[in-house]
């Protein structure tokens, strides 16, 4: 009862935020530059949150997230631009195909652990990129023309759905099983949790939302190229999750917002941006290996209502 009330408060705050930004955009107080910034932030939040489910909650170290982004981007672009389907349907199909790709990649590779899994996912992402590079239908290395369709409304509701689904998943029985897998896979297995099932499930959900982000990403530009989905894109997404905290949903959202804004200001100096990124990454890992927020959420700091009760142990 109480939890659902808090949930609706958050949704209401989010909708008010959406309405304010939408009003500012439609009354042209915010120009193209800023509305584009908001859309980019939204896409990066979706990516960060979807990878957070795989790395932060389930503990599966996947560093090939850009592959699923590419699948979503290309598939939705094919449906909207080449076949003329409506944009929401294209987004959905892109996300579903990305989830299927996640299943295909996940079932064999999730038997691997730690470093091997990381390298295998990196390899799969690169294979996906090379496949798109070699398909003439999507333009090969030259890239593919895409209609500009992403608006703030689509981007915002995609973020809202992503966060609601993933936070509810995390708090459900399935989410707790995933956390058990993260903490100790062998012990979780011994307690009767089907570890393979949960790892693949989390991976597929993560891929689904990465595909959704891909659809928004491709329709936010006029052209997409395979080179946009290389190692560096995967590392960018990884940095959001790691910096925010391995296991903190709000941490990855904050990191995604913060780093997107910073990279916008450093756009003219890409080398400097990457040097700062990598130094931050190294220093955070050396002094705070669990990321800035750890597994804490921002809501643990600002609690609604139950301050007087002192903690939520007995809820």
């Amino acid at each position: 009862m109480k939890k659902s009330k808090v949930f609706w408060i958050y949704v209401a705050i989010a909708l008010v935020f959406y309405a304010v930004v939408q009003f500012l955009i439609s009354s042209e107080q915010l120009d193209m530059y800023y509305s584009n910034l908001f859309i980019t932030i939204a896409i990066n939040i979706i990516l960060a949150v979807s990878l957070h489910l795989v790395i932060g909650i389930t503990g599966q170290f996947s560093i090939g997230h850009a592959g699923f982004l590419a699948v979503g981007a290309y598939v939705s672009a094919i449906f909207t631009t080449n076949l003329g389907w409506p944009f929401p349907v294209g987004l959905l199909i892109g996300a579903i195909v990305a989830a299927l790709a996640g299943l295909i990649v996940g079932i064999p590779t999730l038997r691997l652990k730690g470093d091997y899994l990381a390298i295998a996912t990196l390899g799969f992402a690169e294979i996906i990129r090379i496949i798109f590079l070699n398909i003439d239908y999507v333009g090969g290395a030259a890239g593919m023309q895409v209609n500009y369709m992403t608006t703030w409304t689509y981007a915002f509701f995609a973020v809202l759905i992503t966060i609601i689904v993933i936070s509810n998943f995390t708090n459900s029985r399935h989410g707790r099983a995933c956390i058990a897998v993260r903490e100790d896979e062998i012990a979780a297995d011994a307690m009767g949790i089907n570890t393979t099932y949960y790892k693949v499930l989390a991976f597929a959900i993560g891929s689904f939302f990465a595909g959704l982000a891909g659809g928004l990403f491709s329709h936010n530009f006029f052209i997409i190229q395979p080179s946009q989905f290389g190692f560096l894109k995967s590392f960018d997404i990884l940095i959001y999750v790691v910096l925010g905290g391995l296991g903190s949903l709000s941490g990855s959202i904050i990191a995604a917002i913060f780093l997107t804004v910073i990279s916008l200001y450093l756009q003219d100096f890409p080398e400097t941006r990457m040097i700062i990124y990598s130094l931050v990454l190294i220093i955070v890992m050396l002094y705070r290996p669990s990321g800035l927020m750890g597994t804490k959420e921002i809501t643990d700091i600002f609690k609604f209502g139950n301050k007087s009760k002192g903690g939520n142990v007995n809820e």
């Binding site: 190294i282 890992m285 050396l286």
Partner: protein
């Protein structure tokens, strides 16, 4: 004799992968870390070789030696600064740090000299021999002989010297080695030094053979060398050599069959097949996970 030609090309490429893979496999064998920055040490080696040959007028062998020495120092430096603190941290933290170090080296190099590629000067004559209808260039022979010589030296160091014995002991069991009075920190540093020196040598050879180097050149050969190390069985030195050679030949064959755009994918397909069907690699033994 087209196939012989391809085989020669494949082995030349494979010996470069093998040299890089040796560094990966030694480091992984001893501290269980994928040193992502290894490919960038390879890139630095290529650039040192380039400056030594074209700016300072070194010959091929002095340049090779200089690159190896500088890369060894850089390798130890990276280990001491970035990885030493993380010996007992989680694997994810160590791997992310390695990615960070890799990006730092790449973009610092770009910051100082720009991202444009550099053309390697000719140091070895372009003469070639005809052998059973295949053209074998002087460069291929040079690459192969340098690689084999370095691998023989490495085998000697690992199996016949005291420090080699210490390395094998540390990779077998760190705690037990420490109890036996082995200086684990120094042994790990030496491992990094040797691995990085081999990567530096590979960089110079790569530059001479492909005549083009750039600051991001380390990424793909680095990942492929890791694939080679996994293919041969990670932590096993002859395995890394064999894995590198196999990978080089497979890539050359894929290119020769007309699928040159798919060449990079071939390495990853091999990696995934190996990981799924024989995770311990060709030469590896299966080990059970302890609870």
């Amino acid at each position: 004799m087209e196939w012989l030609q391809q085989l020669v090309n494949g082995i030349s490429l494979g010996s470069i992968y093998a040299l890089i893979a040796l560094g990966y496999t030694m480091v992984y064998g001893i501290i269980k870390l994928i040193n992502f920055a290894h490919g960038d040490v390879f890139m630095i080696g290529a650039f040192i070789g380039f400056f030594a040959i074209s700016r300072w007028g070194f010959g091929f062998f002095p340049a090779l030696f200089l690159a190896m020495v500088v890369c060894a120092i850089i390798g130890v430096f990276i280990e001491r600064i970035a990885y030493k603190r993380l010996r007992n941290a989680t694997r994810i933290a160590a791997l992310i740090t390695a990615i960070g170090v890799s990006l730092l080296i790449e973009y610092t190099t770009i910051f100082f000299r720009g991202a444009q590629p550099e053309a390697y000067p000719d140091v070895i004559s372009n003469k070639s021999f005809h052998f059973l209808g295949a053209q074998i260039s002087m460069q291929s022979i040079m690459i192969l002989s340098v690689s084999i010589a370095l691998m023989i030296i490495l085998q000697f160091v690992v199996h016949k010297t005291k420090i080699g014995k210490a390395m094998r002991a540390v990779s077998y069991d760190v705690e037990a080695a420490r109890l036996m009075g082995i200086n684990v920190d120094n042994t790990i540093s030496v491992t990094f030094a040797i691995g990085s020196a081999l990567a530096g040598a590979a960089g110079v050879i790569f530059g001479v053979y492909y005549t083009k180097i750039d600051p991001l050149m380390g990424i793909i050969p680095g990942v492929k060398a890791f694939v080679a190390a996994v293919l041969g069985g990670i932590g096993i030195i002859p395995g890394a050599m064999a894995g590198g050679m196999v990978l080089g030949v497979v890539e050359t064959v894929v290119s020769a069959l007309g699928f040159s755009l798919w060449r990079d994918a071939a390495a990853f397909v091999i990696l995934i097949l190996i990981l799924i069907f024989r995770p311990s690699g060709i030469f590896g033994k299966n080990t059970r996970e302890k609870v």
